[in-house]
Amino acid sequence: MHKLLIKGGKAVFDDGVRECDILIEGNTIVKIGQDLVDAEADMLDARGLHVFPGLIDMHVHLREPGFEYKEDIASGSAAAVRGGFTQVCCMPNTQPVCDNAAIVGYIVARAKEVGLCKVRPIGAITRGEQGENLAEMGKMKAAGAVAVSDDGRPVSDARMMRLAIEYASDFGLLCLSHCEDRSLVDGGVVNEGLNSTLAGLKGIPRAAEEIMLAREIILAETLGKRVHICHVSTKGGVQLLRDAKARGVQVTAETCPHYFTLTDDVIVTYDANTKVNPPIREAEDVEAIKEGLHDGTLDCIVTDHAPHHRDEKSGEYNLAAFGISGIETSFSLSYTALVRGGILTLSQLAQRMSGAPARILGLEGGTLQEGEVADIMLADLNEKYVIDPKDFASKGKNTPFEGMEVYGRVKYTIVDGTVKFPR
């Protein structure tokens, strides 16, 4: 069996960072310790690098099937490993919608064929994401789905959501809720506030997100079931979650790098790469998101990787597509803003980007442990670079971070014991 010995790196464990060697045999971490020697193993010189559990992104859009001009499983997987991710969970808003076992199966098979990172499909909650009839969750689970969500389209009907949470729980599937009250969004394209007024763009009030977030908390609480909140962007949302968790509601939540690194000041140039849903908010929200990540109210960092064709991002702001191509910038942005910014320790960062998603969805990996799957990422935390979308492996070059200087560069991504990305 193939062996790989990672020598001299600083490994990021749940309880701290220690210099040690990691020996991998096949797809498993077999030994972690000092001065390991194995004559048969290939050596990976990790001196000067930090060794993380492979990052897990539980919220991406790979666009296949149906929108391969934006991204496909091959390009999305390449982007994922380039970003340090060993597992990604792809949302079902493809065409056709991933609302049945056949499409789930197709995605799983196609990802295996590509053979870079592990792709875990998320099935739709309702058929066609129409919000009317439950999708075949049992069959999708059997085909490989790891959760259900109507991401991109909220389940507007509260009764439908209640039924979904209940039914999904029979199969151990978690509902991931994209919280958005459509009536309050009302055609809005940016955060409602000073900058929406300044730019003359229609605003999306925070209430649009928070009202549905509160609904999901109440449903989870009354039903005694789990629910997961997608891409939290507001201060009020963090507070609702903090209160809910304090009273023991089984709710988990994610946020994205753009919600803790940018304020909506960026929209006033009408650069459609800043258009994302939920919208980039204001400074006080950014602070609250950071605080939520610090105290664990927000369990994990996802990218909501939403690649689009440049034609969908180049015209009128109102007409541009929502979304940011984020999987290749997530680690650097998070490390720079949160660890260097003094919000999180390296261990906590690894938790938010790997451990927590694994725990929430019951996935393998997420920690560096003997006996655990050998999904590992190595990064040079001292390396500084400037984000340039031209370097992206993703087809989507839509990033508001172009030109930003960040720290922490992914050097190797190892999936199942095999190096899938070397820089």
Binding site: T197, L198, S314
Partner: protein, 311 residues
């Protein structure tokens, strides 16, 4: 100094605003004498690219361009073609290839002229973009105010109506605060945008408070579709609680002027007494609009010519 484009007043300096107004004085003097044949834009092409219906703004720009000797082309693109037809940037490339010198653009979406301007060599003039700005309307308003009061320092301007959806209100606010005037605003809470007070407006708590001592009383058009969208219940209720009649007008400075960007809904924003009062400048604004737009086109082309010389 005024750049290649005029996209809004938020980024236009007080000096540039004043230089446009100063140039417009000469233009108006010629216009009032019916002298409408200047040679400055001869051999230049001014295209009006309107994705929204407008008679007065387009006509005003077209006449201004013609009076300066330009050739004019009018393109009407329906709002629906924004979504389906040629992309904005491709339209820009096409107009540029045809050697347009100035593109006057109106668009239902904020920022569209900014995006166009980045992709064309021609000067872009914002003729109104969504809820964003309508700089030339505000400039003609300033002209009208300055003609009456001589200066802006300490001038009290009350703006009443649908502030939220009004590009006119915003351009006025941006310019007037730079020029030293005080702007107070009053509207139903449903028609007041977020954060406008942080942009320099004083939000009045009543119509009476907004009007008290005002030198300029400016009404904004109430769009019927806002009522259908549920932002207020009826035109008659609007008029009763938010409209201005001649009695309300007595709260303003006795020497005040009444302004409105038009077209006016008689009996809604203002009663006919107010619209037709001797201190109403609503018709005068139209003439000033042509003068101000002539001045703007004149200065844009002048700057362009000078920078071409330097290049």
């Amino acid at each position: 100094m005024l750049g290649k484009d005029l996209l809004g007043l938020y980024h236009t300096s007080a000096e540039d605003i004043v230089s446009i107004l100063d140039t417009a004085v000469g233009m108006k003097k010629l216009l009032t004498q019916n002298l409408k044949k200047l040679p400055h834009l001869q051999g230049r092409t001014v295209t009006t690219l309107f994705y929204e219906n407008s008679t007065r703004t387009r006509c005003s720009f077209e006449l201004a361009a013609k009076y300066l000797g330009a050739s004019t082309v009018n393109i009407s693109a329906s709002s629906s073609s924004v979504q389906k037809g040629e992309t904005l940037i491709d339209t820009g490339y096409t107009l540029d290839a045809m050697k347009n010198d100035v593109i006057v653009m109106r668009h239902p979406m904020g920022g569209a002229p900014h995006i166009l301007a980045r992709h064309v060599r021609a000067s872009v003039v914002n003729g109104g973009d969504g809820m964003n700005e309508h700089p030339t309307q505000a400039l003609l308003d300033f002209y009208t105010m300055r003609e009456k009061f001589g200066e802006f320092k300490g001038l009290k301007v009350a703006i009443l109506g649908d502030i939220k959806h009004s590009r006119v209100a915003k351009s006025n606010l941006f310019g007037l605060t730079k020029l030293g005037a005080e702007v107070s605003m009053y509207a139903p809470a449903t028609l007041m945008p977020q954060g406008i007070e942080r942009l320099g407006a004083k939000i009045a708590s009543s119509r009476e408070e907004a009007l008290a001592g005002a030198n300029v009383v400016m009404g904004l058009r109430i769009q019927l579709e806002r009522m259908h969208g549920g932002l207020f219940p009826s035109l008659s209720e609007y008029n009763q609680y938010y409209g201005v009649n001649d009695e309300h007008l007595r709260l303003a400075d006795p020497d005040c002027i009444v302004m409105h960007p038009g077209p006016v809904n008689r009996g809604v924003e203002f009663t006919s007494d107010v619209i037709d009062a001797p201190n109403s400048k609503i018709t005068e604004q139209v003439l000033n609009g042509v003068a101000v737009r002539m001045a703007l086109l004149f200065l844009l082309v002048k700057n362009r010519q000078e920078s071409e010389k330097h290049a």
